[in-house]
């Protein structure tokens, strides 16, 4: 009996030990960083469309993928956020019709109709000579351009001289993967139009047609490579507002992929002897961690490269040091219901407009609001990129600096009607100065050569828009799959 009692106690102790051991093992098991899969491990830094596209394709290929995103939200520039009472895109507002990779991905995810939509309303421009339809951001229709008020007859006659180049570029350059346009990265837009059309006509076209398109990106025409814009102008495909909202694709990918939000990458070390890089990061609890996966995909905004990636190759370092961003300054005054505008009103101007107030303004509008879009009545004002430095030096909040302009353009606005202010000033898109596309191509050629532990993806190695970022993510995933096959 005593023997059996002893055995029982021993067994009880063993059971307790077993439970304790199981608990201890469970306690030291970390959060499962990598999604199910048996292939090489990959950490994608950045959950914008480039990172998500790369992660999606790598996961399909069997890679164990983790995605680190510093923000609480996923989607980068394709995100829509609730800002006060305004539900709003924060950067990208639409997609270009030539975004082949993005449309293919959307179709694969069952979002074919949601990513398509109507052409973005471009609105009428006022250049001081009259109102005109510039023909959309990205299609250079010569007949429409010829109707621009203020354009001289001599300039109109010369417009056809642009056709041969545009046709050649349309046939050979993919605007989503701008390295395909390396051969044309030899002069600025301004230099190009002046060379083909002559100085006077070239300057007129720049002022009335090219500057308004460049204003959407924040590019100065006499510094921006011609190949940044010409592949778009050469195509007739429109800029589209997705019917599901700009965030429809990234929201879907977020639901399917293991995105670790509020996970901030601090830096990525040089490759070790095995060719792998270690990522040092802060997790969601602000605890320091590091991870050494087989593959790192750096799909951050290009401005972070120099902060994050240690010991870049000379070509990568050259690209990173040439990566600059345009700035966008937009403010919305949310109005109380009693003072909602009765109807939509707006204005859009060229940077050289003779009226000083209009020259400082890219666009403004006043809207009664749309409950279906969660848009309250508001007045929106976008400061001209050319005048952004003046505001920056003013030491004033944007709404304060912009008030005299909006008051002049829309006198009905009154401070007593304003219930909230949403300022979404931000870094916008990369500049593509002359030579940048060549640098981009050199980095991509280098990383295609052989297997490595760190790959670059994003708009900074593709082009300055969401479709390019998506194409870049998918393109780098193809390279990685090939290297690890």
């Amino acid at each position: 009996m005593s023997n059996s009692k002893h055995t029982t106690n021993q067994q009880r102790r063993q059971v307790v030990k077993g439970i304790a051991a199981a608990t201890a093992v469970t306690a030291i098991m970390p959060q499962n960083l990598f999604a199910a899969g048996r292939g090489p491990t990959a950490v994608v830094i950045g959950a914008g469309i480039a990172g998500l596209s790369a992660a999606w394709d790598l996961r399909k290929a069997g890679f164990q993928v983790a995605i680190f995103e510093k923000e609480k939200f996923t989607g980068g520039r394709m995100v829509q956020l609730q800002m006060g009472s305004l539900y709003q895109f924060t950067h990208a507002s639409g997609v270009f019709g030539a975004n082949r990779e993005m449309f293919a991905l959307a179709e694969e995810l069952g979002l074919k109709n949601e990513i398509r939509g109507d052409a973005f309303p471009s609105g009428l421009y006022d250049n001081g000579h009259g109102l005109y339809d510039a023909g959309g951001l990205t299609d250079f229709d010569i007949e429409t351009t010829a109707k621009t008020p203020g354009l001289s007859l001599e300039t109109i006659r010369k417009l056809d001289l642009l056709k041969p180049d545009l046709e050649e570029i349309a046939a050979t350059v993919d605007p989503c993967l701008l390295e395909t346009g390396t051969a044309y990265d030899n002069e600025s837009l301004g230099e190009y139009f002046e060379r083909i059309l002559g100085k006077v006509a070239g300057r007129e076209v720049i002022k009335y047609r090219i500057e308004p398109a460049c204003a959407a990106w924040g590019w100065p025409p006499y510094e921006t490579s011609k190949i940044a814009l010409l592949p778009w102008l050469a195509r007739t495909e429109k800029f589209i507002q997705p019917s599901g909202g700009i965030g429809v694709l990234t929201r879907k990918l977020d639901s399917l992929l293991p995105v670790q939000n509020t996970t901030t990458v601090r830096y990525v070390t040089p490759a070790d002897a095995s060719g792998r890089h270690t990522i040092h990061y802060l997790n969601a609890n602000l605890e320091r961690r590091s991870v050494t996966p087989d593959v790192v995909v750096c799909a951050v905004e290009g401005k972070y490269l120099e902060r994050i990636v240690q010991d870049m190759s000379p070509k990568q370092a050259a690209l990173a040091s040439n990566c600059y961003f345009s700035k966008e300054a937009i403010v919305c005054w949310i109005l109380d219901g009693k003072h909602a505008p009765k109807e939509f009103a707006s204005g859009q101007y060229i940077p050289d407009h003779p009226d000083q107030i209009k020259a400082k303004t890219t666009y403004w509008f006043a809207t009664p609001g749309d409950p279906a879009l969660n848009h309250p009545p508001h007045v929106r004002y976008c400061l001209s990129r050319r005048h952004t430095p003046e505001w920056q030096q003013s030491d004033m909040a944007l709404e304060e600096y912009s008030w005299p302009m909006i008051k002049a353009l829309y006198p009905q606005i009154d401070k007593s009607h304003v219930v909230d202010i949403v300022d979404y000033t931000c870094d916008d898109l990369i500049y593509l100065p002359v030579g940048y596309v060549k640098q981009m191509a050199e980095v991509l050629q280098e990383q295609r050569k052989e297997r490595r532990g760190l790959y670059f993806a994003g708009e900074y190695v593709a082009g300055a828009h969401t479709g390019a970022a998506c194409a870049s993510g998918r393109s780098v995933a193809k390279v990685i799959k090939k290297h690890w096959a």
């Binding site: 029982t8 605890e287 320091r288 590091s290 972070y304 902060r307 994050i308």
Partner: protein
């Protein structure tokens, strides 16, 4: 009774072995190291030193309303910008507000303009001190690398 206990023991043993084998499998791949937890070390410094300097230098005009990121009043938001980079001078906040590199002097890095004339001027000076507290090398050396689990 004994049979039941024996079955439980076998089941638990299997569970533990299974988990250990998973752990070993993961350990072979050596994915994650815990290199320390410094959470909250600089919070007091942030509240007492950094925030007043940000206020004095106009940062709150745009970054304290809750819509424009980051909200500089929130430690957890700002430390994530401070964390990006590997030194007191090379981090996302200093890069932004000191205008260390910009396409031209007239177009500052920071959409709201240059806030420090040099990295020795305020608020950059205090932000660099904050970085040292949060991530400085002396602090890191005190932290022993964690066991490789994954």
């Amino acid at each position: 009774m004994y049979r039941i206990l024996a079955i439980i023991q076998i089941l638990l043993g299997s569970l533990i072995l299974g988990m250990m084998s998973l752990s070993v499998h993961a350990e072979d791949k050596s994915y994650v190291d815990n290199v320390g937890n410094n959470y909250g070390k600089g919070k007091t410094f942030f509240d007492s030193k950094v925030l007043p300097k940000l206020a004095e230098n106009g940062c709150l005009k745009c970054h304290a309303r809750g819509y424009l990121r980051p909200n500089v009043l929130v430690y957890e938001e700002l430390i994530r910008r401070l964390a990006i980079g590997d030194s007191a001078e090379n981090n996302a906040i200093i890069y932004k507000i000191a205008n260390i590199r910009s396409i031209s002097p007239q177009i500052p890095n920071h959409p709201g303009g240059q806030r420090c004339t040099t990295i020795d001027a305020e608020p950059c000076k205090t932000i660099r001190q904050w970085w040292e507290i949060e991530f400085g090398h002396k602090e890191i050396k005190k932290i022993k690398p964690g066991k490789t689990i994954f």
